[in-house]
Symmetry: D2
Amino acid sequence: MPGNTFGRLFRITTWGESHGPAGGVTIDGCPAGLALDLAAIQAQLDRRRVGQSRMTSARNEPDQVEILSGVFEGRTTGTPISMLIRNTNVRSSDYDALRDVYRPGHADYTYDAKYGFRDHRGGGRSSARETAARVAAGAVARQVLAPLGVTFVAWTQRLADLEAQVIDERTIEDNPMRCPDPAVAAQMVELVEAARRDRDSLGGVVEVRARGVPAGLGEPVFDKLDALIGHAMFSIPAVKAVEIGSGVDVARLRGSQNNDPFIRADDGSVTTSSNHAGGILGGISTGAEIVVRLTAKPPASIAQAQQTVTQAGEPATIVVKGRHDPTVLPRLVPVAEAMLALVLVDCWLQQRAARLASE
Amino acid sequence: MPGNTFGRLFRITTWGESHGPAGGVTIDGCPAGLALDLAAIQAQLDRRRVGQSRMTSARNEPDQVEILSGVFEGRTTGTPISMLIRNTNVRSSDYDALRDVYRPGHADYTYDAKYGFRDHRGGGRSSARETAARVAAGAVARQVLAPLGVTFVAWTQRLADLEAQVIDERTIEDNPMRCPDPAVAAQMVELVEAARRDRDSLGGVVEVRARGVPAGLGEPVFDKLDALIGHAMFSIPAVKAVEIGSGVDVARLRGSQNNDPFIRADDGSVTTSSNHAGGILGGISTGAEIVVRLTAKPPASIAQAQQTVTQAGEPATIVVKGRHDPTVLPRLVPVAEAMLALVLVDCWLQQRAARLASE
Amino acid sequence: MPGNTFGRLFRITTWGESHGPAGGVTIDGCPAGLALDLAAIQAQLDRRRVGQSRMTSARNEPDQVEILSGVFEGRTTGTPISMLIRNTNVRSSDYDALRDVYRPGHADYTYDAKYGFRDHRGGGRSSARETAARVAAGAVARQVLAPLGVTFVAWTQRLADLEAQVIDERTIEDNPMRCPDPAVAAQMVELVEAARRDRDSLGGVVEVRARGVPAGLGEPVFDKLDALIGHAMFSIPAVKAVEIGSGVDVARLRGSQNNDPFIRADDGSVTTSSNHAGGILGGISTGAEIVVRLTAKPPASIAQAQQTVTQAGEPATIVVKGRHDPTVLPRLVPVAEAMLALVLVDCWLQQRAARLASE
Amino acid sequence: MPGNTFGRLFRITTWGESHGPAGGVTIDGCPAGLALDLAAIQAQLDRRRVGQSRMTSARNEPDQVEILSGVFEGRTTGTPISMLIRNTNVRSSDYDALRDVYRPGHADYTYDAKYGFRDHRGGGRSSARETAARVAAGAVARQVLAPLGVTFVAWTQRLADLEAQVIDERTIEDNPMRCPDPAVAAQMVELVEAARRDRDSLGGVVEVRARGVPAGLGEPVFDKLDALIGHAMFSIPAVKAVEIGSGVDVARLRGSQNNDPFIRADDGSVTTSSNHAGGILGGISTGAEIVVRLTAKPPASIAQAQQTVTQAGEPATIVVKGRHDPTVLPRLVPVAEAMLALVLVDCWLQQRAARLASE
């Protein structure tokens, strides 16, 4: 199976290149009868798109979504939902110089190694522009999950050495870094400006959480909820590490510290008094918050000279033009939420098959 | 799709519970014509099995593998390879007390939430005993890849606060921690003994590498090589973080530091002069070493009293009996190698479909 | 997995409703490097589209295909090929009367039973209009197979009681019935006219063949080549029977008659002196012609009063308006060829994984 | 994906060769909580196994099934059910002469063409012995469906020119042909004896029906219920034609005859007054009886001299030894029921994902 499809029962297939006429996604398996809120889909796309602030690239795309199928009289029909996003602000000529040379940190060389041939304009299919399609699909997934009380939140937790605390989640969308710590957010903005002046870029960490997730989601063994999340998150461009719950810090904990004691919640249900597990035990959701952290590398496109080779293997110096982000973190926030929503809606539909009498 | 199958073209399906009569795996899609080395499969199982040293649990299973199909006159036929491993050292009575109570850090509660019912003996299907089947399948995958020159190595890189350097890879199998740093290995052994005396357990980090991997493996977008690795590694019990290449450390690097410059290798091929990327760009292998790190939590089974609740939601104190490892790290080493081999053999077969004229 | 995807390595996902703005298909897994002939794709769509003759419905759609991704400088890139076909000649008002009543022989009732809700206009997703997307994808599959020497031909073999012989394959496209027997073709045209006057419709048989198929395609057991063909052909609207080779006639043959003796061909290869098997033994191609026959029911939409019930279960009389074919056979011809091409290209890519050294 | 797995949510993977030590099946996705009736599974295997009468081969296998996982205290746990059937009556030496020569009508040549290599003993993986595993899995599927009121029945409808009527379904298991028409059954037995004396074999037709199937099962477009049935039935060895409902006879019907009028049933539900459609409209079940007919070829193994070639392409004469059935029909009956049950249980689980509020 080629790699452009994600999910089992709520399946999305995305398509489109950075500098082609359009990109899009087909959702197969959205349950019938959902009153689809188109404005909410567009709102998520608006969160992801570039040109929102000086933090992000200057390529300004409206990213207007068109729904071509699967919705009738405002409700989903159970048949495929095809969504199309036109590319309008394409400056392919920026990339003419890259036809025969490999940008460090990009997929140019590996696509050539794989296919013997590539669309060199803006990274072609490997461009992060593809994540617009994911955000559109994720916005539908969120609407399927909303009646269950499942909600999502993500934020920039670290930029280089600047680490934020969650001072007030309600402020996340108030600053260009999507950071819930206003003082650190201001420092982050300055650090991004400094990196831009240096013609360089910065890495960092995004944390994403899902709340209200019912216990019991995820399949044993290979399709554990954490395995599906790992798959989803590592499929996002630039992600180099994924952590669940306490993540890399569990290396330093003892079992007596790391085990989350089970307790009875006020409503009589079973819960845990701590959440080192990040809401997942044995690959299956516990009902506690799902907690995931993604480390993103500094964007590979930097406006300074770099050493590389040409397609023929000759040494070359390259300066990458085009319009690029000095950090991907603020735009990674809605993408991470979308991927988590796509995983959870799929597990929720799958869970209906787990018992003789479903639900 | 339920979760007990991994892979697309080299597909494995595992089955079996900790205290059932047997466990096993069916490999579908192993190419025909491979002269299968059974001793090499058994050798990998022997590396994983318990009772090898005081580092690991006292449950001593021979883990003898039987091949029931798919091999004729010593060669694979292209049809399913069924492998069976009998459970011989089953002491289910250890678990009678756990029928109605949830062990902290285990899947007891979540399996009940999912299925309404569970095999409580030794974790049932959620037991790490299932990884024997993966190791057997991975040993076949290694044999498929060996003629290409692909090799695997893994080791314990950290135990709690003890961090090892790679002093000499050839010493990895010489100490019970599978650590390539003899001095640190000795400290680790002492730390494990101390934890055992404390009736507690320890977390840590395993690093796994694949060498000789051809450039071009992995699919774009959702089935990136790193996404498949993330899926595979998070499906291993106890893993809470997965890193590729420089992993969480890329948060602190600038693009100019993190980008690996392309250079021409002595043999004329394209390579990179550093490997922050861990051998993967745009989700596709570069030909450099694939580098993956796994953080494993301290085992949840500890021989001290813990607070929990019963199935009915009543508070309870639990002391987990049975035979358990104070750390999973040495046994995680062969499992991590097996999972990486399973991902790579699958990508290698998939790659044959990428171009009009294959290979 | 929802049902709008076909294929494993050459995977197509179609979308669109009869009276929505557009329909389309995404091909994932088309090998890279194919010089794509767009005119040949359009030519296949032109063969399928309606309004070509009095044999077919009066809804005249240009069915102009737009390629939105996956092709760069005229060649396939290995990434998804998205194709879009606008619906331009939509007269939804014809269907207003059908909102609450179930047309006999159509999917109205079953879609309501499945989804609780349906797009009633022209059958919505269940419309045969969806087959345009398949024909576009099949036209790409044919181009992948053409360099191997694989060709396809199909024709109307029977209409009601009129059975045709293959007098001259070159005449198939010369008559509106796509029948290779000019005299019978003329009788068929008269029979269709008579049925139209009677406000009725006619069933029949289409035969489709693939030539030049290499031996060895198809997988054992569940994905036998005939099983994949059966899946593909029964997915075409109106098909009620599928036969391979001698088909239903083998019930009357003895083993000594039905077994095809193996002989040595002039070029030294192994072949058979007869072809009752239709080119498939044990689910795997023999190298002989693949022979498939489809029986199609008379179209359900007839312009005469029929008894039925409303959504509320009340008896009702219905007269189906709209523009409908009195027989589907001529338009089934290109769809059958497309589906066979899609099966074979997928098996051909899959076959590359069957041996250690591919091809 | 290799071909030894069937189903999406109720997934079976079979393995084993005719003359290997054992064969088996793993069911992944059986819902938890089913009180599994092992005797009922064995009873289905007993219906399929050989040596029951002179109608069938002399190879007498007890086909005793062992369940190795997935069942705890008599109930399914939701985890994989592994079932094993030992081969006990293996006379491989019968096949020594076939190592280098291709039996007409068998998969010997095509397996060589595919894999470059084969297990020649008794057909290896291509042997109909594999269907034992399907019958075991189908027996579990039937138990999942039974509480819904779904039942299955199949019978021999035709042998060569002898066509049976359904005189009394209760007599099907009373005669060795599994034919519900006692007079015709007696004639069939004589015809089989005559064919055996002639060292020849006979083809025929099996009809299989499912009753009590809820409306709404099956997915649109490519995974129509009839497409999944076509896939399942053509995967059974010897099947050369599959018909749904009136099947090949619809070629001769007009729309006004073939359309099944909708009526209101006595219980207020919607049904049809005839069933030419065989219980499926638009690929989705109507609630009426599912009606499927399979045409099976005469067994290829006949005890008379046949012309063929050797692996080297040299002409040869072959007489197939071994223990073979002169007709497959009576043994096809339980296999056909099993495959239909496997399709329907899968569609039933899939249907739970079709709407927002399941069931």
